[in-house]
C-alpha cells in the first residue's frame, strides 16, 4: 500500500483485530462509513418506529408493550451495530489481488486476483456522496462471487484502487 501513502486522510488505519492468519494486512474503511451506516439505519428505523407508535395507540395493551421492545431493537440497530459492522470489515490490496473481509456473525473472507476481474464499478449513493465515501465493486466471471462489493472506502481511495486494478489488467492483457 506504499504507493497510496501520500493521502492518509482518505483511509482508515490498519485493522488490528482482523489480522487473521493471512499474509495480507487488512485496512479499515473510511471513518465516515459507520456514520453513513448509522444514518441509513436511522432512515430505515423511522417507518418502523411510526408503525410501532400507531400499533401502540391501536391496541389495548399496557403502555409501551409494543413501542418499548421495538424502540430498544431499533436503538441497538442504530447506535451499536454500525460500529461493530465497521470494525468487522476490512480489505487489502496487494500487487495482484484484492481481499475483502466482512460479516459480524457470518464471516466471509474473499480474495479476487486482478487477473480475473472482468470490470470494476465505483458507485456513490446520495448518502455516500455526502460522507465522501464510495463503493468499489469488482465483477468476476465466476457464478459464485460474480460481484464483490467493497463499501465504505474514501472516494479518492476507491478511484485510486480502481486505477490500480485497471492498470494491472491492462499490463496483463497487452
Amino acid at each position: 500500500m506504499d504507493e497510496h501513502g501520500e493521502q492518509p486522510d482518505v483511509r482508515g488505519g490498519l485493522n488490528p483485530k482482523l489480522q487473521g492468519g493471512d499474509d495480507q494486512a487488512l485496512q479499515q474503511g473510511h471513518p465516515n462509513h459507520p456514520k453513513a451506516m448509522r444514518v441509513q439505519a436511522l432512515l430505515m428505523a423511522f417507518p418502523a418506529l411510526l408503525g410501532a407508535i400507531a400499533a401502540e395507540y391501536a391496541t389495548p395493551f399496557w403502555p409501551f408493550a409494543i413501542l418499548g421492545p421495538v424502540a430498544l431493537i431499533l436503538a441497538v440497530l442504530v447506535i451499536f451495530l454500525p460500529h461493530r459492522r465497521y470494525a468487522a470489515r476490512g480489505h487489502a490490496l496487494s500487487d495482484d489481488r484484492l481481499r475483502v473481509v466482512r460479516g459480524l456473525l457470518f464471516r466471509s473472507d474473499t480474495v479476487v486476483p486482478f487477473g480475473r476481474v472482468q470490470h470494476i464499478d465505483v458507485a456513490q449513493g446520495p448518502l455516500e456522496r455526502f460522507f465522501g465515501i464510495a463503493t468499489l465493486t469488482v465483477h468476476t466471471a465466476g457464478n459464485h462471487n460474480a460481484s464483490v462489493a467493497l463499501p465504505g472506502l474514501g472516494e479518492l481511495l476507491a478511484r485510486e484502487m480502481r486505477e490500480t486494478i485497471r492498470a494491472h489488467i491492462r499490463r496483463e492483457t497487452v
Binding site: 492468519g21 493471512d22 499474509d23 495482484d96 489481488r97 456473525l105 457470518f106 464471516r107 466471509s108 473472507d109 474473499t110 480474495v111 479476487v112 486476483p113 486482478f114 487477473g115 480475473r116 476481474v117 472482468q118 468476476t140 466471471a141 465466476g142 457464478n143 459464485h144 462471487n145 460474480a146 464483490v148 489488467i169 496483463e172 492483457t173
Partner: protein, 520 residues
C-alpha cells in the same frame, strides 16, 4: 455469395402453423366459456381464424423483411418490419454454430441455426429455418473463416494448430439402443401423474364439468370403495400389490420414453474444434463445445444406478449457455468409458495419488449433533403430547440421522493437486466435481458463528457456469488451500485463459507449491 439471402420459404408455413396452434386454445376457451350465447361456436371459429390469419401475415412480412448476408469478415442479419435492425457478428467472435431440428421443421428438412457468441443475456444470433444442407454449409463456412483469420494473425498459434481436416472426429461415446433402454429404466419417473394432474386442472378450467367438485369424487370413491370392501382381504392385498407394480411399471415406461425421446442416437465425437454432441429422436440437436470453454466436470450418479456402477458426466461451461442447454456429454456410462472423455477435455480423474482430505471431524460432529438434536426435541415433544409408544418414531429417526451423518462424512472430501481441485459429497449417490485451478475466478472462505467457534469453514471457489464448494474444511487448511489456488490463478490473466497450455504443463511449475500445501 455476398448478396442478402432469405431463410427457407417454408418457414412461413411453419410460422403459420405455430400461429394456428396458439389460436386454438383461446378459440376453445371462447367456445366453452359462455361468451356470446348460442353463436359462440362461430365467434370462437372467427376469433381462431382471425388470429391464424394475422399470425400468418405477420410471419410472411417478417420473412420477407429478414435477410442474412455472409460477408468477408462477418455475418449480417437485417430484420424488422417497422423498425429495421441490422446486426453484424464478426466471424472471430462466433464461438460456434449449433443446429437444432425440431420435429415439424425436420419433416421439411429444415433446421434452426444459432450462432453462439458467448454474449450475455441470450442475445445470440439465430436463423430459423434453413435447409439442413445450408445450415451445415454455414457452420463449415464460419469455421473456415475463423481459421483463416486465426492463420492470418500469427499471434495466435493455438488455433492455427487446430485446422480441421474434416468434421468426422473420433466417436468418444455413443448410446446404443440397448444401453438407452437400461438408462431409461433408471430414469424412473412419476412425472406423468403430474402432467395428468395439470391436464385435469386445465380441463377443469375450460370444460364446464366440475372436476374440482368434491362430491363428484366422493360419489365415485364410495362406489369404488364399496366394490373393494366387498372383496376379501387377500384380494385386497393382491390388488394393492398389483397397484404398486402398476405404478412402478408406469414410472419405468415414462422413464424409458422420456430418455429415448431425449437421448436417441446420442453420439459424442471429438473433432479438432471440440466436442460435438448429437442427440434426440424428434427434436434433434447438434451442439459443439470447444475444449477450451470447459471450466470443470461434474460426475453424478443416482441412488440405484450407482450400485450398478453407472455414472453421468457433464461439463461445466460458461454461464451464458448454461440456462438452455445442459452440457451432458455422457449421461450413462461406466467410469472406464468416462475416463477417455475426461482425458480428451484436458482433465485428469483423481487416482491413488490424489491426496483426499476429509471434512473436519468437528464439522461432522456438529452436523450430527444438530440433526440428532432436532429429532431429539421432537422425541421429547411426542413423548409428552402424543399417545405412548409414538415417540419411538422420532427417536429412531434421531438414531438413524446419527448413523447417516457419520457415514456421509466418509464421502465428504476434497483434494488439490498441481493443476486441479476436487470435491465430492453425497453418501447414497456421490457427486464428484473437478475444476482446473487455472480457470477459477475467486476464493471465498465463509464461516457461520458455530464454524468460527469450532474452527472450520466452507470454501467457495468462483467457477464460471457452476458452483464449487468444499464444506467443513478446517480453517488452516482452508487458508493454505486459498493461498495455493490464488497463487495459481494470479499468474495468468483472464484474457489468456483460452490459450493457456494444457494442464500438464503446469505440473512442473506448481508442484513445489502443492507439496507445500500438502505438507500443511
Amino acid at each position: 455469395m455476398n448478396e442478402p439471402q432469405r431463410t427457407a420459404p417454408i418457414s412461413v408455413l411453419l410460422g403459420a402453423i405455430g400461429a394456428i396452434r396458439s389460436a386454438i386454445l383461446p378459440a376453445f376457451a371462447i367456445a366453452f366459456s359462455g361468451i356470446g350465447g348460442g353463436d359462440r361456436i362461430w365467434v370462437a371459429l372467427g376469433v381462431g381464424l382471425a388470429a391464424a390469419a394475422i399470425g400468418t401475415l405477420i410471419n410472411y412480412v417478417g420473412w420477407r423483411r429478414l435477410t442474412y448476408t455472409i460477408g468477408e469478415s462477418d455475418i449480417r442479419v437485417e430484420s424488422g418490419v417497422m423498425s429495421r435492425t441490422a446486426r453484424s457478428v464478426p466471424f472471430e467472435r462466433i464461438q460456434d454454430v449449433s443446429i437444432e431440428a425440431k420435429p415439424l421443421p425436420r419433416l421439411f428438412g429444415l433446421v434452426a441455426v444459432k450462432f453462439e457468441t458467448g454474449a450475455g443475456g441470450g442475445e445470440d444470433l439465430a436463423l430459423q429455418y434453413l435447409s439442413a444442407a445450408e445450415g451445415e454449409r454455414l457452420r463449415q463456412l464460419v469455421r473456415q473463416r475463423r481459421d483463416d483469420e486465426a492463420a492470418a494473425a500469427p499471434a495466435d498459434p493455438h488455433t492455427r494448430a487446430a485446422i480441421p481436416a474434416d468434421e468426422t472426429g473420433d466417436v468418444l461415446y455413443a448410446l446404443t439402443p440397448g444401453r438407452l433402454l437400461t438408462f431409461g429404466l433408471f430414469e424412473f419417473s412419476l412425472a406423468v401423474f403430474a402432467v395428468l394432474g395439470g391436464l385435469l386442472q386445465y380441463a377443469d378450467n375450460v370444460i364446464d364439468l366440475d372436476i374440482g367438485n368434491v362430491d363428484v369424487w366422493r360419489d365415485w370413491l364410495e362406489e369404488q370403495g364399496s366394490t373393494v370392501a366387498s372383496l376379501g382381504p387377500y384380494i385386497q392385498a393382491a390388488a394393492a400389490v398389483a397397484g404398486l407394480f402398476g405404478l412402478i411399471a408406469v414410472g419405468m415406461v415414462t422413464g424409458v420414453v422420456r430418455t429415448v425421446l431425449r437421448d436417441w442416437g446420442f453420439t459424442l465425437t471429438r473433432s479438432s474444434r471440440g466436442f460435438r454432441r448429437q442427440r434426440g429422436l424428434l427434436t434433434r440437436t447438434d451442439v459443439v463445445m470447444p475444449v477450451h470453454r470447459v471450466q470443470g466436470l461434474v460426475i453424478g450418479t443416482g441412488l440405484l444406478r450407482y450400485r450398478f456402477g453407472w455414472h453421468g458426466l457433464s461439463f461445466v461451461s460458461l454461464a451464458q449457455d448454461a440456462e438452455s442447454e445442459s452440457h451432458e456429454v455422457a449421461p450413462f456410462a461406466k467410469m472406464a468409458e468416462i475416463a477417455p472423455i475426461v482425458a480428451a477435455a484436458g482433465f485428469r480423474l483423481p487416482d491413488d495419488r490424489t491426496a483426499w482430505h476429509r471434512a473436519s471431524k468437528r464439522h461432522r460432529n456438529d452436523r450430527t449433533f444438530r440433526d440428532a438434536a432436532i429429532f431429539g426435541v421432537l422425541t421429547i415433544v411426542t413423548a409428552i403430547m402424543a399417545p405412548t409408544g409414538l415417540f419411538l418414531i422420532p427417536l429412531g429417526a434421531a438414531v438413524l440421522s446419527v448413523g447417516v451423518n457419520l457415514y456421509a462424512w466418509e464421502f465428504r472430501r476434497h483434494a488439490i493437486d498441481a493443476a486441479q481441485v476436487y470435491a465430492s459429497h453425497g453418501f447414497l449417490s456421490p457427486t464428484q466435481m473437478i475444476a482446473t485451478r487455472m480457470k477459477l475466478h475467486s476464493v471465498e472462505i465463509v464461516q457461520n458463528p458455530l464454524a468460527r467457534l469450532r474452527g472450520y469453514a466452507t470454501v467457495h471457489l468462483g467457477l464460471a457456469g457452476g458452483q464449487f464448494a468444499m464444506q467443513g474444511v478446517s480453517l488452516d487448511e482452508a487458508r493454505a488451500l486459498r493461498a495455493a489456488v490464488i497463487e495459481t490463478i494470479a499468474g495468468t490473466d483472464y484474457s489468456r485463459l483460452d490459450q493457456a497450455p494444457e494442464n500438464q504443463a503446469f505440473s512442473g511449475a506448481q508442484s513445489g507449491l502443492s507439496s507445500n500445501f500438502l505438507a500443511t
